[in-house]
Amino acid sequence: MTPTGTFLSFLWLIPLFPLATAALMLFVGKRVPKAGVSLLCVGSVGLSFVCAAGAVSELLAADSEHRVFQQVLFEWLTPGPMQMTGGHLVPFVADWGFLLDPLSCVMVLVVTGVGFLIHVYSVGYMAHEGGYYRFFGYMNLFMFAMLTLVLANNMLLMFVGWEGVGLCSYLLIGFYFLKKSASDAGKKAFIVNRIGDAGFILGILLTAVTLGTIRFMSNGLPESESASGIFQVLKAAKDSGTLGVITPTLTVIALLLFIGAMGKSAQIPLYVWLPDAMEGPTPVSALIHAATMVTAGVYMVVRMNAVYQLAPAAMDVVAVVGAVTAIFAASMAVVQNDIKKVLAYSTISQLGYMFLALGVGAFAAGIFHLMTHAFFKALLFLGAGSVIHSMSGEQDIRKMGGLWGKIPRTAVTFLIATLAIAGIFPFAGFFSKDEILGRAFDRFFLLWIVGFFTAGLTAFYMFRLLFLTFFGYSRADEHVEKHIHESPPAMTVPLIILAALSIIGGWIGWPGALGGENRFERFLEPVLAGVISETGAVRIAHHAVGKEIFLMVLSLSMAGAGIWLAYEFYRSKRIAPQLVAEKWPKVYELLVHKYYVDEIYDALIVNRVKDLGVLLGVLDANVIDGLGVNGAGWLARFSSKVSMWWDKWVIDGLLNFGAKLTQLFSYPVRLLQTGLFSSYALLILVGLVVLLGYYGHHMQTLLRAVR
């Protein structure tokens, strides 16, 4: 039975509410009173959430095989017939259509739900900022774009949302546009994203010419048999046995799409924009750069899982990139002192986790982690925002400390989030992270090792953050100290709700090994079935319970080790950094790592030794930024200089060549046009002689012929 219902038939309202308010804000927002702005903007997102919840519930009413609802509003892009690789012509159409299936259900709920909370929070956080209406206009525009992204029924419409969120990210990062660093960061984000987008576009095009369609699936359409969808085409190819032919192309498609995902989801090497993006207001970081937008890449890969499952090589690439990003970013997070930067690197790291999951075939686990991460990372950012708010804008954790008692609600919720991200049972992060690590272990041991150590690192740096911020003595300036206060309810209530979600959010994926049935994975199963059922990438793992529990214990102990280490360093201070330095000079990377973190913390021997963090920082600034971003800038300048030169000398030169020639020519003309009678007469004579000579010469041949 196909799902029906009022909310479903008005599915398009979900993105429309935020769009309407966004338009209202951006065009006439200046004249709307602040309360009105708050009401309209938060309310519209709330309405979206209600609609989404309604639609999801209506979808859930259907049985699990039929949980697909697709709605085409109108044909959007109709550029005529397209020639596929094989030479067939197909009418190319990109719909403006929405798709609600279990996968988008999860996303739409996360986006509207978390988005709503963050909007509420923003009302408090942004209360005293200028451009209030503008902020909410952008935020709602973002909501619109993000919802379009997750609800799109084809790749191109998804790309619309994809670009839209990028744009809003640009606008919101640069919200404090008076600050150059802010607008720089926004620009950087947009441009780096564009590099990924180019890959995405090419991926779309390749999909289009290979498969003849860019619609994800035709399920749920009135004539689902005749209408084409990627899934259906692949299935047909499998049935006709031609799948092998297109497999290499599918790999290329998968890789191109992944380039897009790397840009949006801040994976190596395109992650560099995300730390800078922290220039934006904190709610923005929470919403866009933690909970929703940056996970769009993950969502997209899962959405395209039918293709990825047929391209194992691409999957491996995804896994490796994800794993490397995870540990790389985590290691950098260790040394950061800006509270938001730590969280930013953490986000990158967690996104790496998600990609690791996708790469090893655990799509459901990836989405699961995406969801839980949305909860606790949003919470972390909002908490950080609350801290910053209470600290009158101070972001440096070295100038904090001892806040535990002063802002208790923030502190407690922050602790919960930290525990969640560290993967402590039974917080949400535990379930999702464990799922990933378990699958990675199955797939490839080394990936598991990386993930495992990352887990430890995560625990370490998060607790480092926690300890430095909330415990110990206050290191704040006096006048800041005086103003420390708990945030208003508009900010703390969302914190509390998110904290609750960070605890219970993981329980819907309670694994079998612990007596649950992993309902989350079952829920997503129809979407992730894949074309070839036996690839098994999405089958629910049936490990031996013992092994699974063993792995859980291992990772828990790793997290514990991280926490302990953090405690020893930053709370009890039983381990002095210098001591470590003398004991293990440049032996083992992990140790070195620790060693340098100490040094940074003390800020005493930074210049004497090469701390990995600094190294990575330098790498970031010089190699990646330098070669990647600045290098591109340099290249642009260089080539445009060359171009200008070319323009000026070669092309204009050619043009001016005429003038030069004229000048050159004018000399003999002047020489001949002397104004002297005799030379004129002489020239006439020369002309006469030349013309006669022409015939004389001509006559030679004639004479010879006569003889």
Partner: protein, 525 residues
């Protein structure tokens, strides 16, 4: 009414001329009257072109609204007008942008107003004429006629280096067009004469005759036309007139120049150059390759040079090189996607770049400088301006939901079907497009107000809204619902693809549906 319906194209074509003639008799001393008359005829020109859209049927593939009268019988030149979907869109773009451009000059032009409006209206006649002519001779006449008013618009009302820019513009274009004249004459001569020995300049007839030409002749003819159009487009490396002309022209001139004049090149490519491509596949591939490589160089080159510009108008001018590179890329992909994307992108470029020039005009009118370094932080004093500017920038850089994306994507789609590498290089242009436009935006709008003069700049006034808002609306319209626009060009392009790339449709559709000449005139409802 009947007369109007039968001569709709003539009416559209000559309405601005009537305006210009009336202006001739307006006394010079009256300052506001020429302005008023100019605007009235700008609007009127647009209004009389609206019935074209109204009467249009989307299944028309051939030329319609035809008018065909004797002009110079002894040489076979006729007054033959007619449009198909492609020219219809361009005509509409011309009348629309013309109206906007005229209106945008309301307060910008204080000197010699009467002449200014006369020239703008004459320019309008020339441009519409190029798009509606179905007679090569007539086409050429309009093509050249148009240069003169543009020359004066740049030369009289331009900025500092106006004389240089104006003559450069004129000479460049002329150099191309005289070669085209030869090609036209060759086409005229080599096409078989009628039974009574008379020859014709009729475009459909001559283009149909081309199919019997030997390849060697076709190649020569192709290059003959190519130079004229390539200079007009302008393709790399024939583009250097463009930055100068755009930069020095007054705002309305730049709008028209970028919005319409450049489209004549691409229009020419579609209408005249494509049918001349040789049939021999190797030869054909070689030619297409050259053109495509030039387009790609243009795309990337234009974008890179943009990054270095200090002058806003110059930057936008170079961005035109890049955008028009996309158009030619799409055209020479020779498939419906590429071509329709290209036509749409021409419209888009007219809207976006036209609007960008208007935006620079807004700043120029306030500050009398276009140097980027003079500005900064304008978002504070001019928030609404900032919003509109942002939308236009995004439209230009191909943000989805705005017009630019539709064109660029469709072009890339068309190119991709032919060669993946082309599309890949093209997409690099998309990336760079974001870079230079956003950087420009950042430098002008963001940050603190660095220059104290800028603190007091007034935001947009009603007139400026009136010029910009229609463009913004169009940008959104095309971005969100481009289907009606595609509908105009689908059938004509199908014919063209059939003609120039018969392999495209494969065996199943190898036969081109016979062209039924559309009814010359539509019954008025």
């Amino acid at each position: 009414m009947d007369f109007f319906a039968h001569h709709i194209l003539s009416v559209v074509l000559f309405t601005p001329l009537v305006g210009a003639l009336i202006l001739l008799f307006v006394p010079r001393e009256q300052d506001s009257v020429p302005r008023l008359v100019g605007n009235v005829f700008g609007v009127l020109g647009f209004l009389v072109s609206l019935p074209l859209v109204h009467w249009w049927h989307s299944d028309w593939g051939g030329f319609t609204f035809e008018e065909n009268a004797d002009w110079i019988p002894s040489i076979g030149a006729r007054y033959h007008l007619g449009i198909d979907g492609i020219s219809l869109l361009l005509v509409m773009l011309t009348t629309f942008l013309g109206m906007i451009a005229i209106f945008s000059s309301w307060s910008a032009i204080k000197l010699r107003q009467k002449e200014y409006y006369i020239l703008l209206l004459l320019l309008q006649v020339g441009m519409i004429g190029v798009f509606v002519s179905l007679d090569f001779f007539l086409f050429y006449v309009f093509w050249e006629v148009m240069l003169v008013p543009m020359y004066f618009l740049i030369g009289v009302w331009g900025s500092d280096r106006r004389l240089y820019a104006a003559i450069k513009f004129f000479l460049y274009t002329l150099a191309g067009s005289v070669v085209m004249l030869l090609a036209i004459l060759a086409l005229y001569f080599y096409a078989p004469a009628a039974a009574d020995g008379s020859r014709t300049f009729d475009v459909p007839t001559l283009l149909a005759a081309v199919k019997d030409f030997p390849d060697s002749l076709r190649v020569w003819l192709f290059w003959g036309f190519f130079f004229a159009f390539a200079i007009k487009v302008p393709m790399f490396p024939f583009h250097t007139w463009l930055p100068d002309a755009h930069t020095e022209a007054p705002t309305a001139g730049s709008v028209i120049l970028a919005g319409v004049l450049l489209k004549m090149g691409t229009y020419g490519f579609i209408r005249f150059s494509l049918p001349l491509l040789p049939t021999d596949t190797v030869l054909r591939a070689r030619i297409i390759h050259i053109v495509i490589v030039l387009s790609l160089i243009g795309i990337i080159y234009g974008a890179l040079v943009c990054l270095m510009q200090k002058d806003m108008k110059r930057l936008i001018a170079y961005s035109s090189v890049s955008h028009l590179g996309f158009c030619t890329l799409g055209i020479f992909a020779l498939n419906p996607n590429g071509l329709s994307g290209s036509v749409l992108q021409q419209i888009n470029h007219g809207i976006s770049t036209g609007a960008l020039f208007l935006i620079v005009g807004v700043l120029y009118e306030r500050r009398h400088t276009r140097l980027i370094s003079e500005f900064g932080g304008l978002a504070t004093p001019m928030p609404n301006f900032a919003a509109i500017y942002l939308i236009i920038s995004l439209s230009s850089l191909g943000m989805p939901l705005l017009n630019g994306f539709i064109g660029e994507f469709t072009i890339l789609q068309g190119a991709f079907q032919v060669s993946k590498a082309w599309a890949a290089w093209g997409s690099l242009g998309v990336v760079l497009g974001a870079a230079y436009l956003l950087w420009l935006y950042q430098r002008v709008m963001f940050g603190p107000v660095t220059n104290p003069i800028n603190e007091k700049l007034p935001d947009l006034n009603a007139r400026e809204y009136a010029t910009l808002i229609p463009l913004v609306i169009l940008a959104f319209w095309i971005g969100i619902y481009p289907k009606p626009f595609f509908a105009f060009i689908e059938k004509p392009l199908e014919r063209i693809v059939h003609q120039v790339n018969p392999g495209f449709y494969g065996a199943e559709h190898a036969k081109l549906p016979p062209l039924e000449m559309q009814p010359a005139v539509v019954e008025t409802k």
